[in-house]
């Protein structure tokens, strides 16, 4: 955080959060002011015209690429504001002739957004509880209690990381249709989304690595004071693990919000479906692109806001997942 303040003040286009992210990944050698956050090019190189021309060319190309990346999103918003006729016009207009903000209200009502939002929220709460609690309990046991056979169990958990999720799509569906031993059908209930959410080998791995760094003496002194393991877990381990729990919560939110394939398969009755499945159905049976774009835009806002608020965690988490995992 301190280095963020020492960075030369960049133009106002970059939000303060973005800079902190830059500082986070680029914080080193704060005393080397002219070459702050440098790559291969040093400030001396910029005295050479060839380097300067090449650098400018790269910036121009990157800026052009930025347009390609961002413009579809702007196009989505512009389309959402056009009238039903204008959205089909060839060639299309860039800016709407008249701004139809009512498209948002229309999409909101036609799709019944509140219902599906509430469904997604219900799914999110249960999924979050399963995807955090179950791995945390297991990771605590593997890290601090170390039962006999812990290594074998850990291997069993980690082996599932090698399995592509789509490979056990069908058998998992069949298991939910007729749960072994209990012989109940969980399909078309949220249990079909909640319960499998506990299978998170990667979360176990991250939590275990985190718990390993918590000193054992802390727990021993609590044990001497007569605290039960569950109490140690709830009152010492979990509060200390807030940073990693935050990262995992963010990922869970994004995954649930974006999830499409699995809910499409296991939740067959339409009123129970989460927002993404509902949007796909709404868009496929709807010719009014302006209203569809309004709905898409609304569905995009939460992840974008979420990203802007938590981007340090998210970007850190991606690299956590792919480089070290």
């Amino acid at each position: 955080m301190a280095t963020a303040q020492q960075l030369p003040t960049p133009p106002s286009t970059a939000a303060p959060d973005l800079e902190q992210a830059a500082a986070l990944s680029g914080e080193r050698g704060a005393q080397r002011a002219p070459d702050q956050g440098r790559g291969a090019i040093s400030h001396l190189d910029f005295s050479r015209p060839s380097v300067r021309v090449g650098y400018c060319a790269v910036i121009v190309l990157l800026a052009a690429g930025t347009v390609v990346m961002i413009f579809p999103l702007i196009w989505m918003l512009l389309g959402a504001l056009k009238s039903a006729n204008e959205v089909f016009r060839i060639p299309p207009t860039l800016l709407p002739e008249s701004w139809h903000w009512e498209n948002f209200a229309q999409g909101w009502a036609q799709l019944n957004v509140p219902r599906y939002l509430f469904n997604t929220l219900k799914i999110l709460v249960g999924t979050w509880l399963m995807a955090i609690t179950v791995p945390a309990l297991a990771a605590y046991s593997l890290s601090k209690l170390r039962p006999a056979g812990a290594r074998l169990i850990q291997l069993g958990f980690m082996a599932t990381l090698m399995m592509p999720p789509q490979a056990y799509l069908i058998p998992r569906f069949l298991v939910l249709q007729n749960v072994p031993l209990l012989h109940i059908n969980l399909l078309d209930t949220y249990w079909a989304l909640w319960l499998p959410a506990g299978v998170q080998a990667f979360n176990i791995l991250l939590l275990r690595n985190f718990f390993d760094k918590i000193p054992g003496e802390l727990l021993d002194s609590a044990r001497i004071d007569g605290a039960s393991e569950l109490r140690i877990f709830g009152q010492i381990i979990l509060p200390l693990s807030r940073p990693i729990l935050a990262v995992l919560s963010i990922f869970t939110f994004t995954a649930v919000w974006n999830d499409f394939f699995w809910p499409l398969i296991v939740i067959s009755s339409q009123p129970k479906q989460p927002i993404m499945v509902a949007i796909q159905l709404f868009a496929s049976g709807n010719g009014a692109w302006n209203v569809v774009m309004a709905v898409l835009f609304m569905a995009t806002l939460p992840p974008i806001l979420f990203f802007l608020i938590f981007q340090r965690h998210i970007i850190g988490g991606i690299t956590l997942g792919s480089v070290k995992g």
Binding site: G39, R89, P91, A138, Q166, A167, P180, P196, P303
Partner: protein, 314 residues
């Protein structure tokens, strides 16, 4: 003799020797109960939704399995059904085409972006966020948005092409262009997330390395070639396998945008499995197709592990 040794070991802890063997055993078991209780929820969900389904998937592949009917062993009949279905070959052909085109178009894009953005001094945070933005969009949103942009008439892409005097393409509506269209969209949507990983690898390079090379008279391009690129190469290997494994399992985009059409030109293996299971309710054949998919992915992963080991040994 065994007694002597054990007495020698236990001597300082008198209370324990007095308990006797049963007491010690009991305490050991007691010590195990709480750790296993903590593991129990995870063991239950892993067993029910991961370990058991893996076995079940293999078993059902050799059964006739329809809902509401008891399963019946049929040997290799499901596989025969698959191999005699012309769509199975089409689906694998399309999936391979998708994976190869995605490698050809998309694989180098994040590497180049990361190498370029790593050099940018002032707007680097803005560029990074801008290129990452499409990766935040939910898959369904991306697919529907591009479906509209690919519209041959009023769509954005053909309009831009016409603006520059071109004639435009049929995109999703023609068998020749449908898979390249999906690949372009997937590259747009996925490049940012991969780029962030490469950037993290590049940010790990100590500045001293560049400085030393500069003093030795290495040009900027040489510094990138011999310092930056070697840093991302191992990550590129990982990303290669992740991309292949990911693209082979592609489902949402063709499901939402084309439904496998036109004329099955974009049906993928996952889409075919979906059809067998949830349209024809033939879970046996669907599982058999899933098993083949799994074996292919497993083979790719094993090749990858073998290659990385050889690369690391060199």
């Amino acid at each position: 003799m065994g007694r002597k040794v054990s007495r020698g070991q236990q001597a300082p802890r008198k209370t324990e020797t007095r308990e006797g063997a049963w007491g010690r055993f009991g305490r050991a078991v007691q010590g195990q109960i709480i750790p296993w209780l903590f593991l129990m929820p995870a063991l239950l969900v892993f067993a029910t939704f991961s370990w058991y389904p893996i076995i079940l998937g293999a078993v059902v592949s050799f059964q006739e399995y329809h809902p509401l009917r008891p399963p019946r062993w049929v040997g290799f009949e499901n596989f025969q059904t698959l191999f005699s279905d012309p769509l199975f070959a089409t689906a694998w052909g399309n999936t391979a085409k998708f994976a190869l085109l995605a490698l050809l178009f998309g694989y180098m894009v994040p590497v180049i972006l990361a190498l370029a953005i790593n050099e940018v001094r002032r707007f680097s945070a803005f560029f990074r966020a801008a290129y990452y933005l499409p990766a935040i969009l939910p898959g369904v949103v991306t697919a529907v948005l591009w479906q509209w942009m690919y519209d041959p008439g009023a769509g954005l892409i053909n309009s831009v092409i016409r603006l520059f005097g071109g004639r435009g393409l049929p995109w999703l509506l023609s068998a020749e262009t449908v898979i390249p269209s999906l690949v372009i969209m997937a590259t747009w949507a996925g490049a940012g997330a991969t780029m962030v990983v490469y950037l993290a690898a590049l940010r790990g390079i100590p500045v001293e390395l560049y400085e030393a090379a500069e003093i030795d008279g290495a040009s900027v391009l040489q510094r990138i070639r011999y310092i930056s690129v070697p840093q991302v190469l191992p990550v590129m290997l990982t990303m290669l396998i992740l991309q292949i494994v990911g693209t082979i399992q592609v489902f949402t985009e063709p499901y939402v945008m084309t439904g496998g059409g036109p004329n099955n030109a974009s049906i993928t293996v996952m889409l075919l499995i979906y059809r067998y299971a949830f349209r024809y309710f033939d879970f046996g054949v669907a599982s058999a197709a899933g098993l083949i998919l799994f074996l292919v992915l497993l083979a790719i992963t094993i090749v990858y592990l073998w290659v990385t080991r050889r690369v690391q040994n060199d």
